[in-house]
Symmetry: C2
Subunit: 310 residues, 2 copies
């Protein structure tokens, strides 16, 4: 199926933004009001999703891995460019399902499709979204900027994606975690209410909590100390190895941020106001690396702190 | 090779833009000064380039297919996000060659790498660039906006890419056109001097001159009349089939635009001032579709007007 008919049939109807003139041009005018940020995230068949995953959940995950980056910076999603490398063997029905789900999910997050490129690929499905965001504050909350003594806060819970992935591998199709593996739920309301207002440094948890917290503190030249006993794990794991498995596995797309201790009460109140589960999981310290504690007793770190995308 | 070491070793050194903070974050601050546009173009191994093409020319073509869209809209390239899907079997040496050539070519066009995503892919190499541009005028020159009676202007010459592709297939490695197939030369200086100042409608010639001219006039609800006798073909073809082969093959990445006839003299002077080959190849007329003439005699159109990316 040639490129132009794909665009006209499946993607042009999703385009409502004025600057994109219905994809009838080679470029889109960019919304530049406010402090804008931009990110790109790709999903590849056989690397980030399985060939048998439903097209609808692949589309939603594609949107959300990008949304997650925007939210973690204290911004709101604005515009989207979509790159689709479509395998010659995939059906037009699949493309329709992908585009339909993409349109619904973009609308949910307030993001507008303004352009992109579609092509066929000889291998598996390759998808990439470039997304812009408008900062709620004067600029993005960076990975760096944390100070010694900052609290480390975590939205939501950790491990739901891993539990869903495991259930899928065991063919336990009734597991409530499968949906959370397929379709992560970045903390939409946290961007304005918490991150832009209180965070000094912030990132989304996509490579594993331990690895990401270490990276967050490290970006500011600090060490992180995490309290394993308070980390809100999905599925209430009871053994240390189970906890470590969840704490080192990515794909949860929650946000972890640092903030001054004197803001702790205001942060807790703001989280309660938006109904967001938010946990103070640790602190930033002088030094380098990551230390884990439970009831103030040191806990050995696992060999691998997180997932490295190969 | 894991993602983070690729980024640090090969791509971070290319990043000079302040908003990108050396790729040490998940997002980049976007340059939003002026009227900004954005475009995405992908290149796929086995579809847009051959597996044996040099990594250096693939990198430069990737930059230039995007630059071509920006220039055709009367804008200057500003910022770049890069998506790299790297095959597990490709060497690190290849990646270094790709990144090196990319950096050199981005600098040539004044574009700055600010972010992106790298991942491995099970199939062939998949590359995509999202590029922003700053309009020289108050906004982009669109595909539409041509008026009845407008002249149709073409930069450079048509067919060099096709001649290079043919030479490659015949293993005529000495052909001067091979370089122009591998590395197109979009008309950089035309954006400010001509397109932003005089064009009413504009696009880049990427699918074949005949197809693209028809699309350009059609986007404004008009027909195009082309004078075959004045089209500047590369390689001076002498037969009608040779001419048609060049006029229907894409990848030249020149710009075709319409402008009011009363601007014709000023346009010719401006082109001469920047040393640009520019030819008035036709006019816009009431109606629909494309007609071809030579010495005011109608010429039959070929069955296919251009290339549809499959």
């Amino acid at each position: 199926m040639p490129e132009k008919s794909w665009i006209a049939k499946y993607f042009a109807p999703l385009v409502l933004a004025e600057g994109a003139v219905g994809l009838r041009d080679d470029v889109a005018a960019l919304d530049t009001r406010g402090a804008m940020i931009i990110t790109t995230d790709a999903l590849v068949e056989g690397v980030h999703f399985l060939s048998t995953d439903p097209l609808e959940t692949i589309a939603r995950k594609l949107v959300r891995v990008n949304v997650s980056d925007i939210i973690a910076k204290g911004a709101v999603p604005v515009e989207v460019l979509l790159m689709v490398g479509w395998p010659q063997g995939r059906s037009e029905t699949d493309l329709g399902r992908f585009a339909g789900a993409l349109g619904v999910d973009l609308k949910l997050w307030g993001a507008r499709l303004i352009g992109g490129d579609t092509t066929s690929v000889p291998g598996g499905l390759v998808l990439s979204i470039t997304m812009t965001g408008r900062c709620h504050g004067p600029g993005p909350i960076r990975r760096f900027g944390a100070l010694d003594g900052d609290d480390i806060w975590l939205t939501g819970e950790i491990g739901a994606a891993k539990l869903g992935f495991d259930a899928l591998r065991r063919r336990e199709t009734a597991s409530p975690f499968i949906g959370r593996y397929h379709v992560p739920e970045p903390p939409m309301l946290a961007a304005a209410a918490l991150i832009a207002r209180y965070a000094r440094a912030s990132l989304d948890v996509s490579d594993g909590l331990l690895a990401d917290v270490k990276a967050l503190a490290g970006a500011s030249g600090l060490a992180a100390r995490l309290d394993l006993g308070v980390i809100p794990f999905a599925g209430a794991p009871t053994t240390r190895p189970e906890q470590m498995a969840l704490a080192t596995w990515g794909d949860d797309y929650q946000t972890v941020f640092t903030a001054p201790p004197e803001a702790a009460n205001a942060i807790a109140v703001a989280a309660a106001e938006i109904g967001l589960k938010l946990t103070r999981v640790g602190t930033c310290e002088p030094g380098k690396g990551l230390s884990l504690y439970e009831n103030n007793k040191p806990v050995n770190l696992p060999e691998t702190l997180g997932f490295e995308h190969g």
